[in-house]
Point group: C2
Chain length 130, copies 2
DNA sequence: TCACTACGATTACAGGTGTAAACGGATTCG
DNA sequence: CGAATCCGTTTACACCTGTAATCGTAGTGA
């Protein structure tokens, strides 16, 4: 085996992410039509578009198909956690030279942090420090 | 006036960002050659490539040109702070539904936060709470 | 003045992305 | 059995990106 299923090499685009999100959300394998209903509707995508995205995700080894009679059921091959972690790190690296504290400072300064964000973070910090 | 110079509508790509970075870094207007020296070298880009990126940035209203004899001096039209803020928010929105605390939790869990990150954040929190 | 050089502008071109329509085989309804 | 339907696959196509090469024009050195 040359490729690692757990982390697809190719990048996942924004539109593709939306599709993945639907699968993560569902928690169980979905048909293309079902995915389209969940994503397409809010995004205004046609079924055809969703199908294309699903195919591309399969090609990128990001989701798997399992036959269900005549059609396929799609399910994620990568964990949401992993994806988020990966993307977050990418951003921190790209914009802040890897310094997470800088990102935080930025969000804080830009007032992108609500009062409840602050409380939550405070709590998290305490736990981390325990 | 229909367009706001302070925030270019079009997206800035990664390569373009690198060029902007050089201009921000310099703190003063630079010639194309100078930019190429600063970015191109570390990235292995030819002068031609850097020129293209500069042109695209001009087209996107992200940098300005001022004539200096026969050439141009390029300088950023958008502030680094603004760019970072914008991109950070984009990520938080895209990946965490706008919840900055979730991003933070993720970084923490992924152990992407060093001890000094934690200290810094703690300090920042205290200030914000004052 | 004339070849040469330095520069911005124009053109190029492959690969990724957003957004679909068309195609072809299986299935089901009448 | 034939038409309509469902579904994955193939093809389309414009725009963005990375990465240049080439063109045209304005100076420069001989």
């Amino acid at each position: 085996m040359t490729d690692n299923a757990a982390h697809p090499n190719e990048r996942i685009s924004e539109a593709e992410q939306a599709v993945l999100e639907a699968l993560w959300d569902a928690g169980e394998p979905l048909t293309a039509a079902s995915v389209a209903q969940r994503v397409g509707e809010s995004r205004g995508w046609s079924l055809a578009t969703v199908k294309t995205l699903l195919s591309r995700l399969v090609g990128k080894n990001a989701i798997a198909t399992q036959p269900d009679g005549r059609r396929f059921l799609y399910s994620p091959l990568i964990a949401r956690e992993d994806f988020l972690g990966h993307e977050s790190r990418r951003l921190v690296d790209r914009l802040f030279g890897g310094r997470a504290a800088s990102l935080f400072a930025h969000l804080a300064e830009a007032e992108a942090l609500t009062e409840s964000d602050l409380s939550e973070i405070e709590t998290l910090l305490k736990e981390l420090r325990k």
